[in-house]
């Protein structure tokens, strides 16, 4: 009996998720022992046409890492969806857009400008990538950018979600164990649409810091609080820690080492908009009744939108900022060369 | 040192020169710096607003727009003339109360390249600034020659305490500010009932009989309470009571000789300045007799004229309501009587 097929794909993301998978150490051997790795560009050579040649549903499990930033990403998402029985949105980029999703705060032309025409870019000829370029050998093309960053589930049907930037290796190992047990008939898959490899509550559940009833008179950036009390809830010390609203599963890694949670595990179970939870949570514990005083306290959070949507913008109710919807001929098809 | 944008008003250049001179003299010791609005125009008095609406308010607002340009660390405009103070404050207030008026006025101002954002300036009367910014303590400190024995009738008139759009004054009818200032410079202040009644305003010009009656009421009341002198904060009031006193006497067959001066003049005397530099002598009804009472010798305490409240018999009275500048009442105390 042949082993079931496994695939992992890397779209719009940093690649940290791939590293996280490798970080499960010898557990990776279990993957190889139980699966036939059909397609995993990072780990082994493979061709898209080989995937296209597979029967639909031939791959048992695909871990999709990365956001949908361009048409190639989208094309591959549709392809792997068709070829996979179980498609997992793996990591923050795939589940909620993650840092690439912050591009949704700006219009595409600005993104191109920053990438190709600012001082940090060494581009003496001012080259601006074109969708189609004529070369002596003929035409070559690069994929078109989409208007904004999409999560995997916004493009194709997704079976499971595994949050984290990247997902914790021990959680990956646990998920792999689970799948193997399912293969061996020892366990059942969770219901479709579930979040796997994470808890249902939020980071505070796993955070060892002591917490009391919160009344906040001022917010500070963590580096401005000196010294940070190692045993007391960071939020109580005025540090806007995203922990209360961020899904558990990471063992409260950041608060454990004295840094505030920045929210990479996304919202808790059933939450519609991650940022809204932080708006209401932080605002609720402010100890002031006069608008001026409240505003003064809020000044302590200089970029609330950035802080509340660092990982979740592409999956928020708004998906993007108004300016990213701007019509301005920014698409590479229309952008003329430099 | 407090700095203010200064709107003198037309009278300060002419009929109320004494007001202007005395203000300039006392400003320095009191720590008041006045930056005159560059090229200000007439506020329109009570006449312009009686002709039309937008032009009248545009006329006033030109001054506000010019003043706003001078905002530099201070956004307070000080006007010594009651009518000017009221007109400026009123334009500012109505331009916000009725945005449609504000818009139109600004359209007119734009024709002259100006603009005024209603509510962006704080428009205050000189007396308000002296009592609330400089303060009675500083004033008392600077007094070198208390006006002991001079019986002064404080005459505030109408347009300072009323309609009081921004609730700056302790009361619209019986305010205490002028009384407090006069007490601070050592004067004996009489409590007569007409301190904020009308001097006749422009009626001296257009309906003198009406005006004379109003002038008579004021002077006769001050006289009944044995005032030596009346003190005002307004050029129009001073003009009417002073210059038309003779006419009034002729009309009613009376012979009042009630001098009336500006409060800044009396402050100046108390601060040790000479009568001449304070503009004394420019009044029509002579202050000579009244002034002779001070600085010459310490006079005997004068029996207070007018009705006196009896305390030791009869039914107790409620204590008087002292309101703070916002018009809120301060709680009253229990009056005690040992039996």
């Amino acid at each position: 009996m042949s082993k079931p097929k496994f695939a992992m794909y890397w779209s719009g993301s940093c690649g940290g998720c791939e590293i996280a998978v490798i970080n499960i150490h010898e557990k990776i051997l279990d993957v190889d022992a139980n699966f036939d790795i059909a397609f995993w560009p990072v780990a082994m050579d493979a061709k898209v046409k080989d995937v296209e040649a597979l029967e639909d549903g031939a791959i048992l499990l695909t871990l999709w890492n990365g956001s949908i930033r361009n048409e190639e990403n989208e094309h591959m998402a549709h392809l792997l969806r068709k070829k996979s029985k179980i498609l997992v949105a793996f990591g923050s980029c795939a589940t909620e857009g993650c840092i690439p999703g912050l591009a949704n705060l700006a219009p595409l032309h600005e993104i191109f400008d920053v990438a190709f025409h600012t001082i940090s870019t060494d581009n003496p000829q001012g080259i601006h990538p074109q969708p189609v370029t004529k070369v002596p050998e003929g035409e070559i093309s690069i994929p078109l950018m989409k208007d904004r960053v999409y999560t995997l589930a916004q493009v194709v049907d997704v079976d499971y979600y595994m949050p984290g930037c990247p997902p914790e290796s021990h959680q990956i190992a646990a998920v792999i164990d689970l799948v193997i047990q399912v293969l061996q008939g020892k366990a059942e898959l969770p219901p479709k649409g579930s979040v796997i490899g994470a808890g249902g509550s939020t980071v505070c559940e796993e955070c060892p810091r002591k917490r009391g009833v919160k009344t906040i008179k001022a917010f500070h950036r963590i580096q401005e609080v000196a010294p940070v009390d190692p045993d007391i809830c960071l939020l109580e010390q005025g540090v806007p820690c995203n922990g209360p609203a961020t899904r558990s599963g990471c063992d409260a890694r950041c608060p454990n080492v004295g840094a505030q949670c920045i929210g990479c595990y996304g919202p808790a179970e059933g939450v519609i908009d991650y940022g809204a939870r932080l708006v209401t949570a932080f605002a609720s514990v402010i100890d002031a009744t006069e608008p001026e005083e409240i505003e003064r306290i809020l000044d302590g959070i200089p970029d609330p939108t950035g802080q509340f949507y660092r990982f979740n913008l592409a999956d928020s109710l708004f998906r993007a900022s108004a300016s990213s919807f701007k019509k301005n001929g920014q698409s590479p098809a229309k952008a003329s060369g430099a | 040192m407090s700095e203010y944008i200064f709107y003198p008003g037309c009278s300060m250049e002419s009929s109320a020169k004494a007001y202007y001179d005395s203000l300039m003299v006392i400003a320095k010791p009191l720590g008041i710096t006045l930056k005159e609005i560059d090229d200000w125009n007439c506020c329109g008095a009570t006449e312009y607003v009686g002709m039309n609406l937008i032009p009248a308010y545009s006329l006033i607002a030109r001054n506000l727009a010019l003043a706003a340009k001078m905002k530099n660390g201070t956004d307070t405009v000080v006007a010594p003339c009651s009518a000017c103070y009221l007109n400026l404050a009123k334009a500012d207030y109505y331009m916000s109360e009725r945005p449609s008026l504000g818009e139109k006025v600004n359209q007119a101002l734009e024709a002259g390249g100006l603009h005024y954002e209603a509510g962006s300036l704080d428009i205050r009367h000189l007396l308000d600034v002296i009592i609330n910014d400089i303060g009675l303590d500083v004033l008392k400190e600077k007094v070198v020659k208390p006006l002991k024995g001079l019986r002064v009738a404080p005459y505030l008139g109408c347009m300072v305490p009323r309609p009081d759009y921004y609730h700056r004054w302790s009361d619209a009818e019986h305010p205490i500010e002028l009384v407090e200032v006069l007490k601070a410079i050592g004067a004996e202040v009489i409590d007569y009932p007409l301190a904020t009644s009308c001097c006749g305003g422009h009626m001296t010009q257009i309906g003198p009989e009406t005006a004379y009656e109003l002038i008579r009421r004021l002077i006769s009341s001050a006289d009944r309470y044995q005032a030596d002198i009346m003190v005002t904060v307004c050029p129009m009031c001073q003009m009417n009571l002073d210059a038309y006193q003779g006419e009034t006497n002729r009309y009613f067959g009376t012979n009042y000789q009630m001098p009336i001066v500006f409060f800044t003049q009396l402050i100046g005397l108390a601060l040790g300045f000479s009568p001449k530099e304070l503009g004394f002598g420019t009044e029509i009804t002579s202050t000579k007799r009244a002034l002779a009472r001070i600085g010459v010798e310490i006079p005997e305490p004068v029996e207070e004229g007018g009705p006196r409240r009896k305390k030791d018999e009869g039914l107790p009275m409620p204590p008087r309501l002292i309101k703070n500048a916002k018009g809120k009442s301060l709680h009253h105390h229990v009056e005690e009587a040992e039996s």
Partner: protein, 156 residues
């Protein structure tokens, strides 16, 4: 388009004050702009910022939040919590490029039918002046071609 833009506004009302003020406005046959559609909450404190975002993302042009006057909350002081959330929410909206003026918090007691109608009329005019938000249309784009949509500039 010569036709006047008719904004669609979602209004959140408190069961004890503003919803009753709306009832009162009705009973007194006061007239006001028909652009606001009300949702009853037990208290302005119940207002989850999610509701506001949801309304704006789903096609509303503005959101009106109404509660009891400070110090008069039926549940003692929950309207202050609404106030705090509202002030932070506005900052987030601004970051999203949405004019914070599209969301407004006003106080109206059960007796203030007139005030509520005036606030509604004023707010409708304010939103009318801001123009359509049309977030639902923005999101409805197919992801490839960017639709021609007016986008408001928000001052930094």
């Amino acid at each position: 388009m010569s036709e006047q833009f008719e904004p669609v506004i979602i209004g959140f009302t408190c069961n004890w004050c503003s919803y009753r003020a709306a009832d009162l406005a009705g009973t007194a046959r006061m007239k006001y702009a028909p652009n606001v559609r009300l949702i009853r909450l037990m208290c302005s404190g119940r207002l989850d910022p999610t509701f506001v975002m949801k309304a704006l993302a789903t096609g509303a042009d503005g959101v009106l939040i109404t509660g009891c006057h400070p110090g008069e909350c039926h549940y003692v002081e929950q309207n202050y919590k609404a106030l705090r959330r509202y002030l932070l929410l506005r900052r987030v909206l601004k970051g999203m490029g949405i004019a914070p003026e599209r969301v407004k918090l006003v106080w109206a007691s059960a007796a203030e039918g007139t005030k509520l109608t005036n606030e509604i009329n004023t707010f409708v005019e304010e939103i009318r002046a801001l123009g359509p938000l049309g977030w639902n249309k923005k999101l409805a784009g197919n992801g490839h071609a960017v639709e021609e949509l007016a986008v408001e500039e928000v001052a930094a």
